[in-house]
């Protein structure tokens, strides 16, 4: 080949372009990520003096009732949040994929909560869900329906938490699914219709399989978002009542920043949470791949 000789400038350029990003990324993401594994083998309550304790943090956290309660809450929350979000988003996406008046308006409206401050959203929903005098119960009472203490009853507080989570992210997932729907060739549907397939059959046999890659992306994004839920819960329930809506992230925050502070326990919790997120994501990808092979 008679290609031009690559000059020094051109050879150095990529590294120089990468430098600022890698500096910030390395110092504030890569190094801390590795270090959190390290800290999980030490104990410290002030962040200054660290005492090596081996696997003691893991032993302590695994015998901590609050950790297991937070783990159980996280499981319930993530399952309910992911299932409801994806199903409703799919419904919304299918509706929005039709020729409708005001499609743009609906699309924008459903997406709106996504840009709102999660702190404000939690605060406002907490106010709307107040047992006595809250807007929701005022409306329910007006219709002659029961007016429960949404944020006082532990089970209902979890319902409220899931509901608000779905409310925030629904439009985002619907939008991604809508993009996937619009990539499906309409001729496939027309051909199937000519062959006598009804709408439900076409949905099941054409839309669902072709939408599977997009659905997987939404499933993974929703799962990670579910595990990370913190901001709106912090201002909606504060993890209460009686820890009923304390998820693992909040548990880690409490161990790390509320007394009695234990950086070791918090880091061990972080490592465990990351392992769980990683495993769940890998399982989702694995299941999707196996389905595809069939």
């Amino acid at each position: 080949m008679t290609g031009r000789r690559i000059g020094w400038g051109q050879r150095l350029a990529p590294y120089l372009f990468l430098l600022p990003n890698l500096l910030i990324f390395g110092v504030f993401t890569i190094y801390p990520a590795l270090n959190s594994v390290n800290i999980s083998f030490y104990e410290s309550s002030n962040g200054r003096t660290f005492r090596p304790v081996g696997l003691d943090n893991y032993r302590r956290i695994l015998s901590d009732e609050q950790f297991w309660s937070a783990a159980a809450n996280t499981l319930v929350f993530v399952l309910a949040y992911v299932l409801i979000s994806v199903l409703v988003a799919l419904g919304v996406a299918v509706l929005l994929n039709r020729r409708l008046r005001g499609r743009g308006f609906f699309r924008a409206t459903f997406f709106l909560p996504m840009v709102l401050s999660p702190v404000v959203v939690g605060l406002v929903w907490g106010w709307l869900l107040q047992g006595r005098g809250g807007l929701i119960n005022t409306v329910l009472g007006g219709l002659g329906l029961p007016t429960p203490g949404w944020l006082v009853d532990p089970a209902l507080a979890m319902v409220a938490a899931v509901g608000v989570g779905v409310w925030i992210h629904l439009g985002f997932y619907a939008l991604i699914l809508l993009a996937g729907l619009q990539a499906i060739d309409p001729h496939l549907h027309e051909a199937a219709a000519l062959d006598g397939a009804g709408p439900w059959q076409r949905f099941r046999l054409i839309t669902v399989p072709l939408l599977r890659p997009t659905t997987l992306v939404v499933l993974v994004l929703a799962t990670i978002a579910g595990f990370q839920s913190f901001d709106f819960l912090y201002s909606l329930t504060g993890g209460g009542p009686l820890g009923a809506t304390t998820l693992l992230v909040q548990y880690i925050y409490q161990r790390g920043f509320e007394s009695p502070i234990s950086y070791g326990l918090a880091s061990a919790g972080s490592v465990l949470l990351f392992v769980v997120i990683l495993l769940v994501t890998l399982v989702q990808f694995g299941l999707a791949r196996r389905r595809e092979a069939v």
Partner: protein, 284 residues
């Protein structure tokens, strides 16, 4: 059971019954989304006595900005607002600069370790800040950035998502264009600034919007770093005051509206780009 007709996909018009069902569903959902927001805005103009009326009334007695004036005058509301604006603007600029440069290197140069680096950056999308904020906090503390706005601005500036979106977009820029500029004698920085950046405007817009929304709404990290009142952002101030109940709720509502308003305005103006950006970029 006869299947609902509107589940079908395709361009043909729906039968009237399906159309009615579809609109009913969409309108009900839209109300569910909009009602809490509108109710909050309306209520932010109510006095505390009006707020405690049972049953509540839809419209406030008068649309006077009393709550907003009070909220501005009390505490350091103006300081929190300024902090939020400073952090959001500075962090977004920094994010755009470092991410665009990195994305360019990853998209348009062949160099050792390129694939590995890209995979590492991608992989960390899965590491939520929540999981590593204790060691990050340590680094920030060691650098003396606790209770400083820099501690809020710098750590999250190199976002893997931003690098990813920008790189995907830059891959679509033809290499010949860059080669041609080189033959014309343009240096590497000049090619980046004059040739590549102008072509990346749509992707830059998407990353900028996301960055503004994320940074403005950011909560956990500011909660950890901004321990002193003079570094509170709006989000932190609001959450702390609401939890401690030191501020009457009519003021909290006014602060909430101010906290939501900027991103809603950005969203209303840029809605099309946001929606298209999500539809077009790496999410598919």
């Amino acid at each position: 059971m006869s299947p609902p007709r509107w589940t079908g996909i395709g361009g043909r018009p729906m039968p009237p019954a399906g159309k009615v069902l579809a609109y009913t569903g969409l309108v009900a959902l839209a109300l569910l989304v909009l009602a809490p927001v509108l109710w909050t805005v309306l209520s932010s103009f109510k006095s505390s006595t009006e707020l405690s009326l049972r049953p509540p009334r839809l419209l406030p007695e008068s649309f006077r900005p009393d709550n907003y004036v009070d909220a501005l005058g009390r505490f350091n509301f103006a300081v929190y607002l300024r902090n939020s604006v400073l952090v959001t603007v500075a962090a977004t600029v920094l994010t755009l600069v470092v991410n665009t440069m990195a994305a360019y290197a990853l998209a348009k140069y062949n160099f050792r370790g390129r694939t590995t680096l890209f995979l590492i950056i991608l992989g960390t999308i899965m590491v939520p800040l929540q999981v590593i904020f204790i060691p990050v906090y340590q680094v920030v503390a060691d650098l003396g950035l606790v209770n400083s706005l820099w501690g809020l601005i710098i750590p999250a500036a190199a976002t893997p998502t931003g690098v990813f979106l920008l790189r995907q977009y830059m891959l679509t820029i033809p290499d010949e264009l860059i080669e041609a500029a080189r033959i014309d004698g343009a240096g590497e920085p000049r090619i980046f600034l004059r040739v590549v950046l102008p072509l990346c405007k749509p992707a830059l817009a998407v990353v900028a919007i996301f960055s503004v929304v994320w940074r403005w709404n950011d909560f956990l990290w500011p909660l950890v770093v901004a321990q002193d009142e003079h570094t509170y952002t709006l989000q932190v101030a609001l959450a702390r005051f609401a939890a401690e109940e030191v501020v009457p709720f009519n003021l909290i509502l006014a602060m909430s509206v101010v906290t939501m308003a900027p991103v809603v305005v950005v969203f209303l103006f840029m809605q099309r780009q946001i929606v298209q950006g999500i539809a077009q970029t790496g999410f598919k």
